[in-house]
Symmetry: C2
Subunit: 346 residues, 2 copies
C-alpha cells in the first residue's frame, strides 16, 4: 500500500515523475522511459501521447535516480588549490571541455592548500561516486585514496605528484624549466642569482630549486645560502626575502622567481629600486609584456595540463589497463626584457 501523506520535506518540490507521465499518457512506465531516452520501438502515436504528457506536466528526468541504477554518474571531480587563482582557470576550463565531449559534468572545489581539506573534498567527491577524480595535491600523502582507486575511481594527479601511492600524474617540467631560466640569466652575464620559491613541502618548489642549483653548478658558480629562500608566497614574506638578497656587501644582480605569485611581488620590489635587477619568473601571466621592462618567464601551459590529464582519465574510464604513468610537459622560455638585463656593476 503506497503512502499517501505529505512527505516531511518537499521532494524536489514535488516534481512529476515518469510514473506521473505514464499515468497521464495511459501507457506503461517503460514506454515513457523509451521515449525520454530516445530508444526505438515506440509507435509515432504512442510517442506523441507521451511527449504531450511530458510537456503538460513539465517533466524532466531525474538523472540522480538514473545514475543510481546505471552505476555511472557521468561526473568528474576536480580538486584544485583555489578556484580564484588565475593560473588554474585555464586548467579548470580545459578539464570541463574534455569532460563535456564525454558528456560529463564537473564538480570542483578548492583545497586552499590545506591537506585535510583536500582529503575531505576528494572523499566527498568519491561519496558522490564521481567516475573520475583529478587532483592537484595540497598534501603529500594520498594513501587515503587507495581504497577508492581500488574500488574503481579513476584518478589522475596534476601539477604535483601523488604521495605514497602509484597513480597517473601530469606535470610541467619544473626542473628543466628552472634550469633553462637560470641558464638564461647566466648567459646574460649574471653570477650572483637569487632563488625565491614556494614552500619546500610543495613538489614544484623543490624541483625548481633543483633546476636552479643544476644551472649554477653547470656554470661552475657557487650558491651562497643567503641567495635561496623557500616559503609561503605571501607578499610580505617574498618581499622581505628579495630585499635581503638585494642588500649586503655582495648583493645578487638577478632573481629567479619560483612561481607567478612570487614573480609579481618581486616585480613590485624591483620597481622601487634605483638600479636595474634582472628577473626571470616561472609561469607566464597576463600583462607580463606590458610592464617595463617586460617580464621574461618560463611559461607552462595550464590548459594542456588539464587537457592531457582529463584525456588520461577518460582513457582509464574506458577500461584501458595501463600502468600508472608520469607525463611531463615541456616549458617555454619567453624573453621580454627583464631576463636580458645585464648585471648592474655598482
Amino acid at each position: 500500500m503506497p503512502q499517501n501523506r505529505q512527505p516531511s520535506e518537499p521532494r524536489y518540490g514535488n516534481r512529476p515523475t515518469m510514473k506521473d507521465v505514464a499515468a497521464r499518457a495511459g501507457v506503461g512506465l517503460k514506454t515513457v522511459s523509451r521515449v525520454v531516452n530516445g530508444e526505438p520501438g515506440v509507435t509515432p502515436d504512442t510517442e506523441r501521447r507521451v511527449q504531450d504528457a511530458i510537456e503538460a506536466l513539465g517533466f524532466r528526468r531525474n538523472d540522480s535516480a538514473r545514475v543510481l541504477r546505471k552505476g555511472r554518474t557521468a561526473t568528474v571531480g576536480l580538486v584544485l588549490e583555489d578556484l580564484a587563482d588565475p593560473f588554474y582557470g585555464p586548467l579548470n576550463r580545459a578539464v570541463e571541455e574534455v569532460a563535456r565531449t564525454h558528456g560529463a559534468l564537473l564538480i570542483n572545489g578548492s583545497s586552499a592548500e590545506d591537506p585535510d581539506r583536500e582529503r575531505e573534498l576528494a572523499l566527498a567527491l568519491c561519496a558522490r561516486r564521481v567516475d573520475g577524480l583529478i587532483v592537484i595535491p595540497a598534501g603529500d600523502d594520498h594513501r587515503y585514496l587507495e581504497p577508492e582507486i581500488r574500488a574503481g575511481v579513476a584518478t589522475v594527479f596534476v601539477d604535483r605528484p601523488a604521495g605514497g601511492i602509484e597513480a597517473d600524474v601530469v606535470l610541467s617540467d619544473s626542473f628543466g624549466g628552472a634550469r633553462d631560466g637560470v641558464a638564461h640569466l647566466i648567459a646574460a652575464g649574471h653570477r650572483r642569482i637569487g632563488f625565491i620559491g614556494d614552500h619546500p613541502r610543495i613538489h614544484t618548489a623543490t624541483e625548481r630549486l633543483r633546476g636552479y642549483r643544476e644551472a649554477m653548478a653547470l656554470a661552475g658558480l657557487p650558491v651562497a645560502g643567503s641567495w635561496v629562500s623557500l616559503g609561503a608566497t605571501a607578499p610580505e614574506r617574498v618581499a622581505a626575502a628579495a630585499r635581503a638578497m638585494l642588500a649586503g656587501p655582495e648583493p645578487i644582480t638577478a632573481v629567479f622567481a619560483g612561481n607567478n605569485r612570487v614573480t609579481v611581488t618581486v616585480v613590485r620590489v624591483l620597481a622601487a629600486l634605483p638600479r636595474p635587477v634582472a628577473l626571470v619568473g616561472f609561469d607566464d601571466f597576463e600583462l607580463a609584456d606590458l610592464l617595463r621592462p617586460g617580464v621574461t618567464v618560463i611559461a607552462q601551459d595550464p590548459a594542456a595540463l588539464g587537457r592531457v590529464a582529463t584525456d588520461r582519465l577518460f582513457q582509464r574510464l574506458s577500461g584501458t589497463a595501463l600502468p600508472p604513468t608520469r607525463i611531463v610537459l615541456p616549458t617555454r622560455l619567453i624573453p621580454r626584457g627583464s631576463g636580458e638585463l645585464p648585471p648592474h656593476t655598482g
Copy 2:
C-alpha cells in the same frame, strides 16, 4: 529472488554497500545506517562491530543513493561565462565557500557566451536536481527555466539580469560606475571621450554606455557617433575601434573602457602612441597599479557578487517566501594615474 549474475557494467567498481557491511557485522541494515550517520541508539559494542566491518570492506556511503531518498542533493549549480576568465575566479570561489558552509558541493560550467549552451548546461544541472542554480546569463531569454523554478529549483542570477522571468538578481552598479568614471575624466579636463564596450546584447554593456551618456549630458558635452563603439571584446575589434577614435581631425583625448578585457587591449594601443591619452576602465585587474601610468579603474567586487547571490540562494532554500529582488552592489573608483592625465592639446 535476487539476481546473482555479474552486472553488464561494473557498478561503481563493485563497491561494498550497507547490505554487505550489515552481513559482515551480523546486524540489520538500519543499524549500519545509524552508525554511518552518527544517529543515536546503538550500543558501543554494536557500533564497534559495524565500524570494524566498514573498515575491513572499505565501505563509503553512496551519497548518490542517499540523495535520491532524501530529496535534496546538497549541490549548487553555477553557470558562468568562462571558467578560465580571471574576473569570475573570485566569484566562483565565493560561491564555493558559501555553499561549503551549508555542506553543499558545487557543479559549474561555462556557457562560452552561447545562449544555447547556457540553456543546455542549466537544464542538465536541473536534471541532476541541484538544490539551487546560480546563473550568469549569456542569453536574454530565460523562460526555459520557468518550469524548473516552479518545481522548486532556487535560482539567482548574477552580473546580468534574467530575461523574460521574475527572479532574484545581484548586480554591480554598472550605470553609476560608468557615470562616475566618465565624470572623473571630465573633471580632469576632457571633453572628447570615447566609449568602447562589449556587445550591446550584454546588459552590462548597455548600462555602462548609459552611464557614459549621462555623465556627458550632465556636463553639457556632446557625444559624436564616432566616439562610441560596442561589439565583441576580441582584441582586433577593440584595437581597431580605439585607433579609429584616436585618428581624424578631432580625436578623443580620453577613453572609457567598458570592461577588463577591453581595458587591457586599449592599454596596448595607447602604449604605442606618442602622445598620452587618458583611460578609465570598468573592472579592476591584477597589476593595474604596476603599469606606467597605473590604470585608473571602476572596481567591482566579484567575490561579493558571488557571496551575496549564494546567501540569497540559501535563504530561498530555507523556505523564505520573498518576492524576487534586485540587489545592486556599489562600485569604487580607484585613481592610479591613467585617469588623471590632462587632455593632450596637440
